[in-house]
């Protein structure tokens, strides 16, 4: 019991020290947000490109590019500010955290300026006003008139979105199913998991135009001021930047530029849907496989390196070293990889700006290290004590005994388990897609958005994962067999 308490206090102590240091320095009282952007010469836009026609990916010659109305707006703003536009993709959920942690300067992602959001975000003027629609299967279209037809039914909406709240509050007795991606919601609709999907009118329009199986219904929701409008989000206190951007927004409104932007988006969407064969998107999948492999291989390498270190720490006789080893291993194994990924990207990102890929690799490596440490420790402990005694009785030192006798034998037990860890990392690394690393899962979603096809990209990704894990297992088995002599 005393031991347990010791470990707990050690772990908690570590976290609190981390947090104390991690407190973001209070927002500077002086607002130099505009000057900062001008000084660095770039304007970083955060967006979740799965929301046509606002923002989505197009595939041009195997390369994907974020396009859509919001991108055109961002381009105009950057041009007016005389800076370069940089687009960062990530999931909708991560956008505001990214804003807060200085990963992006602004968020343009079809976002409505709700009172709740206004508490933590400064918004520009409204640049687009649209209604909220409900997309349904065409076969059921006659059943639904407006939101009230969905009483006692299940509807879908993006997690954390306005539409989600609308569904909860304004449809009687409804169940609202929240998913991260519109593409997944459409898939849920088609498989009758939900009867309708609430989304903004232009988006609904885009889906219906591109998928003959879908129809749309005007939701006729009671929309508050913020709820049918779209604006640009900024860090709290960026008044100077907001004011400057509002000048561009005013122009957009007065010249009705969104009409042109939406037309452009529409033509891009036709490019996408012209060729929806998976071959056409081989480049997407290829890139996804490449990133998944890069993350896995580098993480395995550092995982083994650090894992060995932590295993030795845990086996050490020095009580302090031992406890640190135990605390690390237990803590990492006791928290989800997803949270670790977010912690590294957003938390550590407060001090040093690390790219998403690096953050993903760091998090996966640190996570893997804990599991590798246990594999190595188990392998070392499984070598019979008699082997050590025999070596010591011959005059071998502790180190000689370890390197010549114990470790080579431990390795034989460690190898297969390490191989399994390698294989499972290929699968588990997929979690990094939440911070926008373009691994296979991320690309799968991109292809789903681009092609309006739900299932086929999943099948392709599944097969690709299987090919990777299966061939790796085969290779590892081969080495394992070669190591087994006796």
């Amino acid at each position: 019991m005393r031991k347990v308490i010791l470990w707990l206090s050690l772990v908690l102590g570590l976290i609190f020290t981390g947090l104390a240091v991690a407190q973001p320095t209070q927002a500077a009282t002086v607002d130099n947000s505009l000057q900062e952007v001008k000084d660095k010469g770039t304007l970083v836009m955060g967006t979740s490109p799965d929301y046509p026609p606002y923002e989505f990916l197009v595939n041009r010659g195997g390369k994907d590019r974020v396009v859509g109305m919001d991108v055109d707006i961002a381009k105009k703003i950057a041009k007016d500010l005389h800076v370069k536009l940089v687009i960062k993709q990530m999931s909708f959920d991560s956008l505001l955290v990214a804003l807060e942690t200085h990963k992006v300067d602004m968020v343009i992602s079809g976002m409505s300026p709700t009172p709740a959001r206004k508490k933590s975000v400064d918004f520009s003027k409204i640049y687009y006003r649209g209604g909220q629609s409900i997309v349904v299967n065409k076969t059921d279209a006659k059943l639904y008139k407006d939101k009230n037809s969905f009483a006692n039914k299940t509807v879908g909406a993006q997690t954390g979105s306005i539409q989600y709240d609308l569904g909860k509050k304004q449809i009687k007795n409804s169940t609202v199913k929240g998913l991260d991606k519109i593409t997944d919601l459409i898939l849920a609709l088609k498989s009758n998991k939900v009867q309708g999907v609430i989304m903004e009118e232009p988006t609904a329009q885009a889906y219906v135009e591109n998928d003959k199986g879908l129809a749309m219904v005007n939701g006729k929701f009671h929309l508050g001021d913020g709820e049918n409008n779209t604006a640009i989000g900024f860090r709290k206190g960026s008044t100077s930047l907001v004011n400057e951007v509002n000048k561009s927004v005013d122009q957009i409104t007065s010249q009705n530029l969104t009409k042109q932007y939406l037309a452009d988006a529409g033509s891009y969407m036709k490019v996408n849907t012209k060729n929806t064969s998976m071959w056409h998107y081989a480049g997407y999948f290829g890139k996804g496989v490449e990133y998944t492999l890069i993350i896995t291989v580098i993480s395995v390498f550092f995982g083994i390196l650090l894992g060995t270190l932590f295993a030795l720490m845990r086996l050490a006789h020095n009580p302090l070293v031992h406890s640190v080893g135990v605390a690390y291993i237990e803590f990492v194994r006791g928290t989800p990889l997803m949270i670790q990924v977010m912690f590294v990207y957003f938390g550590i990102g407060l001090f040093i700006n690390i790219p998403a890929l690096t953050a993903g690799i760091i998090a996966v490596s640190l996570n893997s290290a804990a599991y590798v440490a246990e594999i190595i420790r188990g392998g070392i402990n499984s070598v019979p004590i008699g082997q050590t005694e025999a070596a010591r009785s011959l005059g071998l030192s502790k180190n000689q005994t370890f390197s010549s006798v114990v470790f080579p034998q431990a390795l034989k037990n460690i190898w297969p388990a390490l191989g399994n860890e390698f294989v499972s990392l290929i699968k588990e690394s997929s979690i990094v897609s939440i911070i926008g690393v373009t691994d296979l899962i991320y690309q799968l979603k991109a292809v789903q958005t681009a092609t309006y096809k739900g299932v086929l990209p999943i099948v392709v990704a599944m097969i690709l994962y299987f090919i990777m894990t299966f061939s790796l297992s085969k290779v590892l088995n081969h080495f394992e067999r070669r190591m087994r002599h006796e």
């Binding site: 009785s393 005059g395 000689q400």
Partner: protein, 246 residues
């Protein structure tokens, strides 16, 4: 005769249980000591205290004029190489071939060249009758063969004394003889040996001294004739009676 090992007031506790109680004894150069006694009496612990695989709780073990209990790790490693040890469960290194098992310590500890170690190892394997098994892995050998390799491995460090802990107890009966033969040859060549054993025949024929251990003490010490033919201590008599019955 000169003293090889001298044990003075040796005690060993595991936690609160006192396993060895104030042991004294002397092993002369060239002597063969057989330690016999009932299970759990402390024989293995005693033997392991001689080369400090087990740290004595108190008392002294003097080997060739050095008090082992006062040495540091490095000095201890140097003296351990002169005390070969053979275990009940052989403990051959399973990741190495037979000859690699024998060569390891001379190369690592004495920095012998691989060629010299090879020559030495082949000579020793020949001595225990296993030259032709040099390149196989231990797992493919019988128990008796493994134990003979273990003896060769210990001899490769050219030890001044050999410690045996029930070297034949884990063997099928038909293999006991081949191992005892190797040990008998060693004794005949003048090797100093401390042997924990249940082989009363071996003790009778080969030992210079038999130490009977029970409950952590040497209940009786004497020549094989004294111990086997005229045991004085009641516990010795009981033990021998039971052994002979079996």
């Amino acid at each position: 005769m000169s003293k090889m090992i001298e044990i003075k007031g040796l005690s060993k506790k595991f936690g609160k249980t006192e396993v060895l109680k104030d042991l004294n004894g002397t092993v002369e150069k060239g002597q063969v000591i057989c330690v016999i006694g009932p299970s759990g009496g402390g024989k293995s612990t005693f033997l392991r205290c001689l080369n400090l695989l087990e740290q004595p709780t108190s008392g002294q073990v003097t080997f060739e004029d050095s008090d082992l209990t006062a040495l540091n790790e490095g000095q201890l490693n140097q003296l351990r190489e002169k005390m070969g040890m053979v275990f009940q469960s052989f403990n051959l290194f399973s990741n190495m071939t037979v000859i690699e098992n024998v060569k390891l310590a001379p190369m690592k500890v004495k920095s012998m060249s691989s060629d010299d170690a090879q020559t030495l190892a082949l000579k020793l394997l020949d001595q225990v009758g296993l030259k032709e098994k040099a390149d196989v892995y231990p797992a493919s050998l019988s128990g008796g063969q493994q134990q003979r390799v273990a003896i060769a491995r210990a001899l490769a460090m050219n030890p001044d004394v050999m410690l045996f802990d029930e070297p034949t107890s884990a063997l099928d009966p038909e293999m006991v003889g081949e191992v005892l033969k190797v040990m008998q040859d060693l004794a005949n060549e003048g090797m100093t040996m401390v042997v924990v054993t249940h082989e009363m025949g071996f003790a009778k024929n080969v030992a210079d001294q038999v130490w009977f251990m029970d409950g952590g003490v040497f209940a009786e010490k004497g020549t094989p004739t004294e111990i086997f033919d005229h045991p004085q201590n009641e516990r010795t008599q009981d033990f021998l009676a039971k052994i002979l019955e079996a």
